[in-house]
């Protein structure tokens, strides 16, 4: 099986990118490869858009949480499987495995992306930050602290994806309104029903990350 390298799809923000719900609304949107190509932010693939890799394993280097990791992976391996199965970074979860639920959200060059919807080879040359990279030396990230305080988690399976999406959202929206939170986190789904806590946690984290009061 040969796959062309494609640009990553962005997760998380609803306004600026195509999300599940937008997709459902827009019946005319065609999906051919299972990957939705959005804005042209991501860097060009290193070997040009027509390059073909595989089908056998190819050497790649993934830069994850500031450290390079040399891997030998088939081109069909997703970024999510590379992180979980080859680097034992299991914070990002495999749930829908097709870019809908956000449980696998990681940050790629400051943008949240669905790691299940990206091939590992597409992530080469990018800075990848996973949930494991957000807590340093055992210190919880302020978003994590707010999630604990506002009980924004039950089973916790969607939580790492939500925390990463919230972090990326707050980086862009340091003073979010309630409505912006609902818009911005629309790309992550929870089954236990923790959204009430999540809404409060995001607003609280916005405050604590600035060391002051939020506008919301």
């Amino acid at each position: 099986m040969k796959r062309k390298r494609q640009k990553p799809k962005e997760a998380g923000s609803r306004k600026e990118n195509l999300t599940r719900r937008d997709f459902l609304k827009g019946a005319s949107v065609a999906v051919s490869s299972g990957l939705l190509i959005t804005e042209a932010h991501a860097a060009s693939p290193p070997t040009g858009s027509d390059a073909v890799a595989g089908p056998g394993p190819v050497p790649i280097t993934l830069r994850v949480n500031g450290k390079p990791h040399k891997l030998n992976l088939e081109p069909r391996v997703t970024l999510l499987d590379a992180l979980r199965d080859h680097l034992d970074l299991t914070g990002a979860k495999k749930v829908c495995d097709r870019g809908v639920c956000g449980a696998c959200t990681v940050i790629l060059d400051d943008k949240p992306v669905y790691a299940c919807n990206l091939l590992a080879i597409q992530a080469e040359g990018h800075n990848i930050v996973t949930i494991e990279g957000l807590s340093q030396d055992g210190q919880l990230h302020p978003v994590m602290t707010a999630f604990v305080e506002h009980d924004a988690q039950q089973c916790g399976f969607c939580t790492p994806g939500f925390v990463v999406a919230c972090k990326a959202f707050l980086d862009k929206h340091p003073n979010p309104t309630f409505d912006e939170v609902e818009e911005g986190l629309g790309g992550n789904l929870c089954r236990c029903g923790t959204y009430v806590g999540v809404r409060q946690a995001v607003l609280e984290a916005a405050k604590s990350m600035k060391g002051g009061k939020a506008n919301a």
Binding site: C96, R98, L140, H141, V143, V148, E182, T194, Y195
Partner: protein, 719 residues
């Protein structure tokens, strides 16, 4: 009445119980470090996958796995069902494969040659006339004289059709396990399970039947964290047994977690329920008669009748007739509060339509008839009042069909519910060590409800210690046997066994330090990290000093439930109300606000208790508006086995949610009662009634999709 030894501390004495405490495993979950079954990676681990039937009803006529077996990287292949077997639902397991990677396992499945003889299937049940011999009469019950009651010229009668579709559990962590044979006859299994203590026995029995000699006590099951269960993860499942067998054949650990499509198609289903219902009340609103003809499916085994009429069981004249429809769809599993959401919708929708026909405010109508709920009538009246206040019913409610010029119509709706929630059998091993450390060990599990936190609170409260002084160990079958977490039975079980174990352990500590303190053991108390004389706080030892008196001997005690002293009970009420806006041009229903007034006896942790209710409201909004397992007549397959078309509510779909826990006198005395099920029962009915109030017509079935709203408007009239 003499105070019983293990009784919960009095209200004023509680330091932790009933307070607002963050779940103790919050940090490890929020930081992504919690290891779920899906996250277990073992050295040399293989990946398991299963070939499944593409047909809903078929006989296997040919099966050749040789090409899969010779695929490089494939380490084990097992035929689960062979030639001649009749398959009853699409997605049923046929061959299991273990390989070096998921992709190789998938490639191997593609190489399996299999042929089927297709047989006729039925995957739809809503139209009972098309069910043929799949429909079986499942009982009639009658009390009073319904015929006479309905023929009374002075009663008002309402008739309608109501129902809700089959939905799936959609746990975010799919079902599955990791199996590792650590010796020729010792098996370590990691299961995503609600039943840590029960899995070894089930797996052992199945393996022995398959000729693999392994004793139950050589099987360990571990589940530290589980990504959702909701009733669908009690058993090991055939794929869990097969995974242990693959690992045995391969001689290496195997991870087999279901893919999302199969998790939705075969690993979870809540039975549907449909009914034609006739109800009657006197002109003053007194309900006098009920008649229902219900049917539903939960797959091959059909579906039992929901408990209707629900809550108002005291309706004097009633007749219920039920038909069970077997379908060629993935089998039903217990779904949070089995049969109750269905019962609530059928009952409250029918009675809400009756209230509308009587031109009565449903709040007044339900309050007036609350005595039909029997012994909990007063609880319901209190909760109706509280919920009405929180949603500002008096101000916001308008009679049905109230005309506003806007195309957006607003409506309010009510639902009531009930559940048991008595604590299950539980065993808690409490260890107090001479160095002052304390462990409480239970073969229980935390589904995300806060079980770990509840155990910690009860132990810390009882021993007079801070939360962090106690290590809570659960999620491993090596700990004392505990019940499965289902039916809201966990909190009652683990809180009581922990309380009893800690009281007894403390007694032993008191006995050890009493002589040195010169105070009789029964005059000692544990509080604020000290052991001290009740009457003289100067006679005290710190916890550490006290434990040091144990010398080299660790106190080991087992606390049990059931046991002496009543620490919990059974039976709760609960009322929920919904405020919705419906766009009559698009058919879209928007939740403005939902409120929940819920009792559950003595609440151990108010924070996680409220989270259960918030979560239940959201899950309820999801099944009321979005969720349905959509089956295809032609292929017999599920059309939406994925998360873009099997829709869950998102963060922007929920509106404002308000939860009020009923606590204090009259509630706390009931002791602990489970909470997982009750609040998820009512949202469907409350939302359906709110939509009917907004539109003036009933959208008869859940989910209330835009398409159904527009159809109901076009049809007009009553239900």
């Amino acid at each position: 009445m003499p105070k019983c030894k293990y009784d919960w501390p009095e209200t004023g004495e509680r330091k932790l119980i009933g307070k607002r405490i963050s779940r103790i495993d919050g940090p490890i979950k929020a930081s992504g470090k919690a290891k779920y079954t899906f996250d277990v990676n073992l050295p040399g681990m293989l990946y398991g996958k299963i070939l499944r039937s593409p047909y809903a009803h078929a006989k296997i006529t040919a099966l050749d796995t040789s090409a899969a077996e010779s695929t490089p990287g494939v380490k084990a292949v097992r035929k689960i069902q062979d030639v001649g077997k009749e398959i009853q639902w699409a997605g049923d397991e046929i061959v299991a494969v273990a390989a070096e990677s998921e992709d190789i396992a998938r490639d191997a499945l593609d190489k399996i040659k299999i042929e089927f003889e297709q047989l006729p299937h039925l995957v739809h049940e809503e139209d009972l006339s098309k069910a043929g011999d799949h429909a079986k009469a499942a009982g009639t019950e009658k009390s009073g004289d319904p015929d006479k009651a309905f023929s009374d010229p002075d009663v008002v009668i309402s008739e309608g059709y109501y129902g809700m579709a089959v939905i799936t559990h959609c746990c975010l962590e799919s079902h599955g396990s990791v199996a590792e044979w650590t010796g020729p006859d010792t098996l370590k299994t990691y299961f995503s399970t609600q039943n840590v203590s029960g899995i070894p026995g089930e797996v052992g029995e199945a393996l022995r039947q398959a000729g693999i000699d392994v004793k139950n006590n050589n099987i360990e099951t571990i589940c530290q964290y589980i990504g959702g269960g909701f009733g669908s993860k009690f058993g090991a499942d055939r794929w869990g047994i097969e995974n242990a067998r693959l690992a045995k054949i391969a001689g290496r650990p195997v991870k087999l977690l279901l893919e999302r499509d199969m998790d939705l198609e075969v690993a979870g289903a809540r039975p549907s329920s449909y009914a034609k219902i006739k109800v009657a009340a006197k002109k003053d609103g007194t309900i006098v008669a009920w008649q229902s003809d219900s049917w539903g499916t939960g797959g091959p085994a059909g579906a039992t009748m929901p408990p209707i009429p629900y809550v108002f069981t005291g309706i004097p004249n009633k007749v219920t007739r039920h038909t069970s429809v077997s379908t060629n769809t993935g089998p039903a599993r217990a779904w949070r509060a089995p049969t109750h959401p269905q019962a609530a919708l059928l009952t409250w929708a029918a009675l809400d339509d009756l209230a509308a026909k009587l031109n009565m405010d449903p709040l007044e109508f339900f309050s007036k008839n609350a005595d039909l709920a029997g012994e909990r009538a007063d609880v319901y009246r209190q909760e109706l009042r509280k919920a009405a206040e929180l949603i500002d019913w008096k101000k916001n409610w308008r009679p049905r069909g109230h005309q506003t010029p806007s195309s957006i119509k607003r409506g309010l709706g009510i639902s009531l519910h009930t559940w048991g929630g008595r604590g299950h059998n539980s065993n808690c091993n409490v260890n107090i060590h001479p160095d002052g450390s304390v462990e409480v060990n239970l073969g229980s599990q935390d589904l995300g409800t806060g079980t770990r936190t509840v155990i910690n609170i009860v132990a810390a409260e009882t021993l007079g210690l801070p939360l962090e002084a106690i290590a809570v160990n659960i999620g491993d079958s090596k700990y004392p046997n505990d019940g499965a977490s289902g039916g809201s039975t966990t909190v009652g079980g683990v809180s009581a066994s922990t309380r009893r174990g800690c009281v007894d352990a403390l007694d032993q500590l008191f006995a050890a330090v009493a002589p040195g303190l010169g105070v009789p053991a029964d005059q000692l108390i544990a509080a604020a990290g000290k052991i001290q004389a009740k009457a003289d706080s100067s006679k005290s030892l710190t916890w550490k000093q006290a434990c040091a008196k144990l010398g080299v001997k660790t106190i080991q005690v087992t606390g049990k439930h059931p046991g002496p002293c009543s620490l919990g009970s059974s039976g709760v009420g609960g009322v929920e109300m919904a405020d919705v806006s419906v766009d009559t041009e698009t058919g879209i229903v928007k939740i403005n606000k939902m409120v929940c007034a819920q009792d559950c006896g003595l609440i151990i942790d108010i924070k996680t208790a409220e989270s259960q209710c918030y979560g239940a409201l959201i899950m309820g909004i999801s099944y009321a508006l979005f969720e349905q397992k959509i089956m295809d007549d032609a292929t017999g397959r599920m059309l939406n086995p994925n998360m873009e078309f099997y829709k869950l509510a998102g963060i922007g779909d929920i509106g404002e949610l308000v939860v009020h826990m009923m606590t204090g006198p009259g509630y706390d005395e009931r002791g602990t009662i489970g909470l997982g099920e009750p609040p998820v029962i009512s949202p469907g009915a409350a939302i359906s009634n709110a939509v009917a109030n907004a539109l003036g017509v009933r959208v008869p079935t859940l989910p209330i999709t835009p398409e159904k709203v527009l159809a109901a408007l076009e049809k007009g009239g009553g239900a």
